[in-house]
């Protein structure tokens, strides 16, 4: 699932480690989400969206739906 996590994170001047700490996940998980290798659970997707002040649909793009 494509997403804009990397773009939004870098726009805020945060490293992957910074975002990982804010969301209480590992840096590896942030990297995997950004590179589309891992689709987060709904609670984590909501947490990411809330962190950036957007809706889940604005940051995650399900092309096949």
């Amino acid at each position: 699932m494509r997403n804009d996590v990397r773009e939004r994170r870098t726009a805020k001047g945060l490293s992957q480690g910074d975002l990982a700490r804010r969301l209480d996940v590992s840096r590896q998980t942030i990297n995997s989400i950004e590179t589309d290798r891992y689709t987060p659970s709904l609670p984590l997707a909501i947490a990411i969206a809330r962190f950036f002040g957007v809706t889940v649909e604005e940051i995650f793009h399900a092309d096949h739906i």
Binding site: D24, S26, Q28
Partner: protein
């Protein structure tokens, strides 16, 4: 939206279990008349548990496997456990067939297989009921 407390001591569960198993090995080997093997078993488990705690701060994967706070590493843990279970099932099935072919009863592999099969059925039923 992680719900586990930052002050959780959940990461200690595996190392503590490891040390406790080492103590169980010590007692079992001692009862069996080989206390030295028991001491070696305990030492191995203590070193293993200590190593887990030592690298926890530096290796994210180990930290995630110990505290289960990261959903992706928890999912990896679950899948790795399933793969391990498949390997164990294969070993038990092969060992059971070999024992039968050698004219033996199949013990203890028949019992291990039965426990595994029943556990799977119960787990499916319980997890299905829980949603």
């Amino acid at each position: 939206m992680q719900t586990t407390s930052r002050t959780s001591r959940k990461y200690l569960a595996t190392p503590i279990f490891g040390v406790l198993m080492g103590l169980v090995y010590l007692v079992a080997f001692s009862i069996g008349g080989s206390p030295l093997n028991g001491v070696i078993g305990l030492a191995v488990m203590v070193v293993f548990s200590g190593a887990l705690l030592a690298v926890r701060g530096r290796i994210e994967t180990v930290r995630g496997l110990l505290d289960h706070r990261d959903e992706r590493i928890s999912a990896i843990d679950l899948r790795a456990t399933a793969v391990t279970a498949l390997a164990m099932i294969a070993v038990v099935l092969v060992a059971f067939v070999v024992e039968i072919a050698r004219g033996h009863s199949g013990w203890p592999y028949d019992m291990i297989g039965a426990v595994g099969g029943l556990t799977y059925l119960v787990a499916v039923i319980v997890l299905r009921i829980r949603g």
